[in-house]
Amino acid sequence: MLPIIHVDMNAFYASCHQAQDHTLKGRPVLVAGDPQKRNGIILTASYEARRFGVKTAMPNWQAKRLCPHAIFIKPDYDLYVRTSSRVMDILGRFTPLVEVFSIDEAWLDVTGCEGLFGDSVTIAQKIQKAIQQELDLPCSVGVSCNKLLAKMASDMKKPMGLTVLAPEDVPQMLWPLPVDELFGVGHRMAERLREMNITTIGDLARVPEELLQQAFGLNGRYLHLAANGIDDSPVDPHSMDSAKSMGHSTTLPRDVTSFEEAEMVLLSLSEQVGRRVRRENYMGRTVTLTLRDASFGTITRSVTIPYTCATDDIYAAALKLLHAHWDGKTPLRLLGVSLSQLIKEFEQVSLFKEDEKKNKLNQVVDEIKDRFGDGAIFRAKLLKDEDLNERKLGKTGNNAPALRGIR
């Protein structure tokens, strides 16, 4: 019984552009922030470009040197979101049990669908074919008995792979892989494992669980189970709607090295988070800031504040964290803001009139954005940096004439 399928879109951003514009087919396409500038970085490289050694997060100039005839394209997030929801619609035809994991990944539990569509491997083939024929997009599919192994399987052959990973094949197929390829093992954990002389998933599987628990606490148990291919988490189609946290992060189109720039990005992220939280009628009280530097060191820092959904409160907390944990110099590659400990929104009457004003202001700004587009109204602070405006305010086409006038 291998009822779990993991679908992973191949080079998703680049593939979206190739599907939209057939002249790009078969050519090395690079989706990159700020393609005009030397110091932008690669967000996604098509497989044609990867053959030249181009990798995600590589600086543009380096990619250009490796693959001089590559086509650089600006990211079009609207296109990706639209395409992603069409992919998810296709998956939904096979089973209602679809867990969306990210914009380009999802799990399916096809238990009980055999009568309709055949066994899980047949379903996996049908999914791949449907996505290919209807959307002209490649994907890799993994089939296994649980979410962890299905995900590991989809990773094994790219692009357009279909890999079946049965639990009995774990020793041959999973164990020889380097330990940092195990789902949930990050860059830093891999480093610590290497210090313990654990380099492959097989090494990890053979370490006694107690030892891992000593070294990694709660994660130790997870590591032990994962290395042995054990995972009993269900495919949860509602994992996204009963959200425990809501966040936005952005890989910066170029390194950020000043508080002024970082603050603008933070404000725009806080506004996006606030707007989403308000739209879904939530409030939260833990604000988390994610910072990633150019060497991919990542830190997350949190602070707890009174329940809020106001952009100002989220931004103020994120700003405090930024100043406490960043020197304003180390080049930043990624910034993220999230709000967690979410509960259904409620309106506690306050003694202070300013609190109610703040809520009304957010409400009005949201309404204007809903009606006239994200660019119709925004904080004056965001006007300063033209380079960042494009990304923050979405597509120019959506923007109100007023903004174009200013520009």
Binding site: P306, I343, K344, F346, Q348, V349, L351
Partner: protein, 383 residues
């Protein structure tokens, strides 16, 4: 410096001051406890510069000769290991003897040495420039803190003064007020100007943390204390102890004004029954994502307390005496329970002024204790 002290006497003094020792401080001297031995007392001090304490034991405090001051002097001992070790020492007499940067501690057959810091740079706890502002009963002040402190803000970036309590003398009344923006607790007591030594009105915002320590240390008997105040510091002095604290800056809301509202619904109800109904409501309400929301439906002879979450719903009827309009209103159950918990009378008097106005809770028959709780607005889907 050399002295002898009974272990239990030593421990009780240590437990008073060690809470004031910062666990981390850029000034390593502050992570220690300062000892001063004079001819007739020994003092223990600790501070993190925001708040601090000095506690004295005098020779007369010990009936037997469990205190012996052999050689006067001062030193700062490292607090963490010191406190921990003190608890583990054998009963009876402990001897401390300092020389050349090491203190030798001996008790029975036990002997250990630890380093100590020079006490010269340790900040003085008592400030001479402060002036006496009030003399008042320790026990009563403790009660006033207990009945208000819960309503302060735990943390407030935009209004840091709300993490403190307003201690204010207006005419012949001492007021203690705490508020976090959604609720307010106010306790007042009449004072006699002569015995309280009040020369003029004053208004201080004292950090909640300080007052919690004060209420921990104050006695239950008829001892009094004197509050000394200056521009940005205040001190609580008792016979043997001084607690010093930085004051918070900023303004407080006009508590007399906001608690004056036009009553539209007035309810008299048994405190324990409404408390347990809300308590049951909270048990369910905190499970869901509705943030402790309980609803009150107030009609002629009952308050109907209800809560509803994704998990389930409950409803409870508590008999009451009501005057005025019927009312449907919702609250954060936690706020009401905190307020009801601070009330000691059997019955409680509630005043409401419409669905978005506050609930004012007073102990039946008393005007010196006011709780003010603002409601949560109901949306159409909550009806």
């Amino acid at each position: 410096m050399k002295f002898c002290l009974d272990r239990d006497l030593f421990l009780s003094a240590l437990s008073l001051v060690e809470k004031f020792v910062p666990s981390k401080s850029p000034i390593s001297l502050l992570t220690g406890i300062r000892f001063i031995v004079s001819n007739n007392y020994i003092s223990f001090s600790a501070t993190d510069l925001d708040i601090g304490i000095e506690h004295k034991i005098s020779v007369s405090d010990a009936s037997d000769n469990s205190i012996k001051f052999i050689e006067p002097g001062s030193a700062v001992f490292p607090s963490k290991i010191f406190s921990e070790m003190a608890r583990k020492m054998p009963l009876g007499e402990v001897m401390f003897s300092c020389s050349d940067g090491r203190v030798e501690i001996s008790a029975g057959n036990f002997l250990m040495t630890l380093p100590y810091y020079d006490a010269a740079d340790f900040p003085e706890i008592t400030r001479e420039e402060l002036l006496p502002a009030l003399n008042f009963s320790q026990k009563l002040f403790k009660t006033m803190i207990k009945q208000t402190v819960f309503a302060r803000a735990e943390e407030s970036a935009s209004r840091p003064q709300l993490t403190g309590l307003l201690v204010e003398c207006r005419k012949n009344t001492l007021n203690v007020v705490a508020l976090d923006g959604f609720r307010l607790a106010w306790r007042k007591e009449d004072i006699d100007r002569d015995s309280s030594m009040v020369n003029e009105d004053f208004s201080l915002i004292i950090p909640g943390r300080t007052l919690l320590e004060v209420s921990r240390i104050f006695g239950e008997g008829d001892e009094s204390f004197t509050l000394y105040a200056g521009k940005n510091r205040a001190e609580f002095r008792t016979e043997n102890t001084v607690i010093t604290s930085r004051l918070l800056e900023g303004s407080f809301i006009d508590y007399e004004q906001v608690t004056k509202v036009e009553p539209k619904t007035i309810v008299d109800i048994e405190r324990a029954s409404i408390f347990s109904a809300i308590d049951r409501g909270l048990t369910l309400a905190r499970e869901g994502s509705k943030n402790n929301l309980v609803k009150f439906h107030i009609s002629d002879d009952f308050i109907e307390v209800s809560a509803e979450t994704e998990m389930g719903s409950l409803c409870d009827k508590v008999p009451c005496k009501k005057e005025g309009d019927d009312l449907l209103i919702a609250f954060n159950a936690r706020f009401l329970m905190d307020a009801l918990n601070s009330i000691e009378t059997q019955d409680v008097h509630l005043t409401f002024s419409g669905e978005s106005g506050p609930c004012i809770l007073k102990p039946a028959g008393f005007e010196n204790h006011v709780n003010f709780v603002l409601p949560v607005k109901l949306r159409s889907e909550d009806y």
